[in-house]
């Protein structure tokens, strides 16, 4: 079966079985290996991507449900050789260590920042509650997200 959708703004078409996981299409068929597989059962969030702006576990989404949508992965956050503000904040605060959880953390955080809600610590922790990290103890990740939220607010105090 053939499915058409957008990945990081570019149109793609894949010819794969409809029950193939979005995660496998990204990694195996499209060679976008930034998205990681951790548990494969929706517990760890390592495979988090944005589907029409909403954060989802790519291991739980069959590709037949992706037809006609827009996917954003960690490869779509920065530009070539240039990190975005959120990625830079993770780097500066030490929010990334071994790196396995980082792409998923970034995507969950990106969805949270884009939602424009309050960015107090409780809200940040709720936003990344579906993402496990076994290195950082989360504190530096929370700091990174708070820093990026502050920078975006300063850059655009009245978002539309």
């Amino acid at each position: 079966m053939s499915f058409r959708f957008f990945v990081n703004g570019d149109p793609v078409e894949v010819e794969v079985p409809g029950m193939r996981r979005l995660l496998d299409v990204l990694r195996e068929d499209l060679a976008l290996t930034g998205t990681k597989e951790g548990c494969g059962e929706g517990e760890c969030g390592a495979c988090s991507v944005l589907l029409d702006g909403a954060v989802v576990d790519a291991c739980l989404v069959p590709i037949c449900q992706v037809d006609g949508t827009s996917i954003r992965t960690v490869e779509g956050l920065g530009a070539e050789n240039k990190l975005n503000d959120l990625q830079s904040a993770f780097l500066e605060t030490g929010g990334a260590q071994c790196g396995i959880c980082t792409p998923g953390m970034l995507m969950a955080a990106e969805a949270f920042l884009a939602s424009g809600g309050p960015s107090d610590e409780d809200s940040i922790r709720e936003a990344i509650a579906g993402n496990l990290c076994r290195c950082t103890g989360y504190r530096k990740i929370v700091e990174a997200i708070a820093q990026a939220a502050e920078q975006r607010r300063a850059a655009d105090p009245h978002p539309a």
Binding site: P17, G18, M19, R21, D24, L60, P62
Partner: protein
């Protein structure tokens, strides 16, 4: 890669009915249960999957007469954001917020939770306590089944092979109060050790309760009502002696199992404690 069963994605409900009438299919909504079962090789994978995600007839939250009606494809995120749910059934907004985390809430649906028929399904006790009706449809027409009759045995539902769950109707009863509590290992991403919904009719404060419904999940092979405890609460005021009697009745009435998530003793004790606290909060003491 996991096995990839054959899947069909109908665009209309009548197409879906026709496919189901021809041969059995396993429906998939948001995929948060089925994809875990396939990847984890939990049982045999289905031969044929019916992708119902595109059936817009199964979406939407509305008030219809004296009921709040949720399409089967309503996600937990949609329930959390819905002003109608917040106004008429705030316990459901609360329940939706305790399920998984953002990734699951964006995909998991109330219909999927009901049809998957896990004894730990978090919304199921709420459906039972609220006297919800599940509306099923097929080429043969539509019919309603009460939540109390929808899960007859472990992991079974009242759905026939050619039927889909279309929507869930929560009757709106003016003076009904509903409370929800879930106990898991942590606030997010946890499968319940005990999940409880309590509903009653009566004025605020310490007036006697009527039409008490106490439903629990994760303590039996199906979501259940605790009839003996309901009988203690019916006609009683939410004071300390009522709470004490209800809690001890519940502990005696439940017969949970030991499993990887919890022990029978813990489940009994925590269910009694949670009920006691709900009654105390309602009574304001």
């Amino acid at each position: 890669m996991p096995v990839e069963p054959h899947v069909t994605s109908p665009r209309t409900l009548s197409e879906a009915y026709a496919l189901l009438a021809q041969q059995p299919h396993r429906p998939v909504a948001g995929g948060t249960d089925l994809l875990v079962q396939i990847t984890g090789e939990l049982g045999d994978p289905p031969d044929r999957v019916l992708d119902i995600w595109h059936l817009d007839e199964l979406r939407g939250i509305a008030v219809d007469g004296d009921a709040l009606v949720l399409g089967a494809l309503t996600t937990y995120t949609e329930m959390r954001r819905s002003p109608l749910v917040a106004e008429f059934l705030p316990a459901l907004s609360e329940a939706a917020a305790t399920i998984g985390a953002a990734q699951i809430q964006n995909r998991g649906t109330i219909g999927g939770n009901a049809a998957n028929a896990s004894p730990a399904g978090d919304t199921l006790p709420l459906l039972i306590a609220c006297d919800a009706e599940l509306v099923l449809g097929s080429e043969r027409g539509e019919r309603s089944v009460t939540a109390g009759e929808f899960w007859p045995e472990y992991r079974r539902t009242a759905l026939a092979a050619d039927e889909l769950l279309l929507r869930i109707r929560f009757p709106m009863v003016g003076d009904r109060q509903v409370r929800f509590r879930k106990v898991g290992t942590r606030r997010a991403q946890a499968i319940s050790k005990v999940v409880m919904a309590l509903a009653w009719r009566g004025d605020d404060g310490t007036a006697p309760w009527r039409d008490v419904r106490l439903a629990l999940g994760s303590v039996a092979a199906t979501p259940i009502r605790a009839g003996a405890t309901e009988a203690v609460l019916d006609g009683a005021s939410p004071d300390q002696s009522t709470a004490d009697r209800a809690a001890s009745t519940l502990a005696g009435e439940l017969n949970p199992i030991d499993d990887v998530r919890s022990s029978a003793d813990y489940r009994r004790a925590v269910a009694a404690r949670v009920l006691h606290r709900l009654i105390r909060e309602a009574g304001g003491w």
